[in-house]
Subunit: 191 residues, 2 copies
């Protein structure tokens, strides 16, 4: 059998939107039904485990996309500076230039503790680790690379929250630009 996966992919896209905008408790089956165009019973046909299974599927796919679109570019073979810039461009696109929120962040705040915790943990951790690896490769000492990578993820995630709170999305793109330049500062310095 060769599977028609495409329609399910569309459903997951809409599910992701709803969970990102509304959080776990705010994402009611009624809203999900409206967003997907599927009745509640149809949703249970695709996800017998109900809302929990829907959220889990969305989180797993989100981590795959993080791997593809954000971490992947970091592990290419170009210059470290270029790879980091590429990651920032992809982030800008993925987060709608600051207008969209981060699923992992939203579920960290609204998710019933324990259900998705492991996936959230893995997602954030591998992201930080991959960024730190690039910084090490570029010549930074490991400890400094790790803290810089952590701080970068902190500020990106925080910017998504605060910019939304402020209704000012411009600062998100400014942050991405600055990070592109600052993450490797004092590395090219000769002797």
């Amino acid at each position: 059998m060769r599977p028609p996966l495409v329609p399910k992919e569309d459903v997951l896209n809409e599910l992701t939107k709803v969970f990102r905008e509304s959080g776990l408790e705010g994402a009611t089956l009624t809203r999900i039904s409206r967003a997907t165009g599927l009745g509640k019973a149809s949703l249970y046909h695709h996800f017998p485990g109900g809302k929990q299974e829907m959220a889990l599927a969305v989180v797993k796919r989100s981590n795959l996309q993080l791997q593809e679109k954000v971490i992947g570019p970091l592990q290419g073979d170009g210059e470290p500076t270029a790879r980091i810039r590429q990651m920032m461009r992809n982030l800008d696109k993925y987060y709608g230039s600051g207008k969209e929120s981060c699923l992992l962040g939203v579920l960290t705040v609204t998710g019933s503790r324990g259900l998705f915790h492991e996936h959230i943990k893995v997602g954030f951790a591998t992201w930080i680790k991959s960024l730190a690896s690039v910084l090490v490769e570029a010549g930074l000492p490991k400890k400094l690379a790790t803290t810089r990578a952590e701080n970068a993820i902190f500020s990106i995630e925080g910017a998504l929250v605060v910019c939304r709170g402020l209704g000012n999305v411009a600062s998100f793109r400014r942050l991405l630009r600055e990070l592109s330049a600052d993450l490797l500062r004092e590395v090219e310095d000769p002797i």
Copy 2:
């Protein structure tokens, strides 16, 4: 009349805990009732507007506390460096060294848009503005001061989310320490 405000203050403390931990939609009247020890009907005696009024009261008080405990120290008359360090100490305490979350951040993510938006906006904005003022006072050009202040708040808010997601709270205190040192870097440099 001289008001016995104290018991209401206790109720607000418990309300704040519940909203910080559960978000707006997760904070059910049942949980609030358990946390405060008051029956639902009693809650409506104190807050006739229901859950919305409770959340609004909590947000307003949160902004007052932000003013007292975080922004206040910034406007003292000591050295800028010392004032910033004091703010970081108070933040560390207020956020339980990273174990607690930020009410403004949580409501930004879970709050039905528009209800608290103005209060959230004002809270974040005055915080950033006050921090930037100190940096200007310390000698930084205004534009640089503003972006540094924004970035600091971004990373603090993001750290509260990501550290919770990672289950690793140590990085939050590390961040506060680094910010204390880095916010004013290259300022004391003579000529």
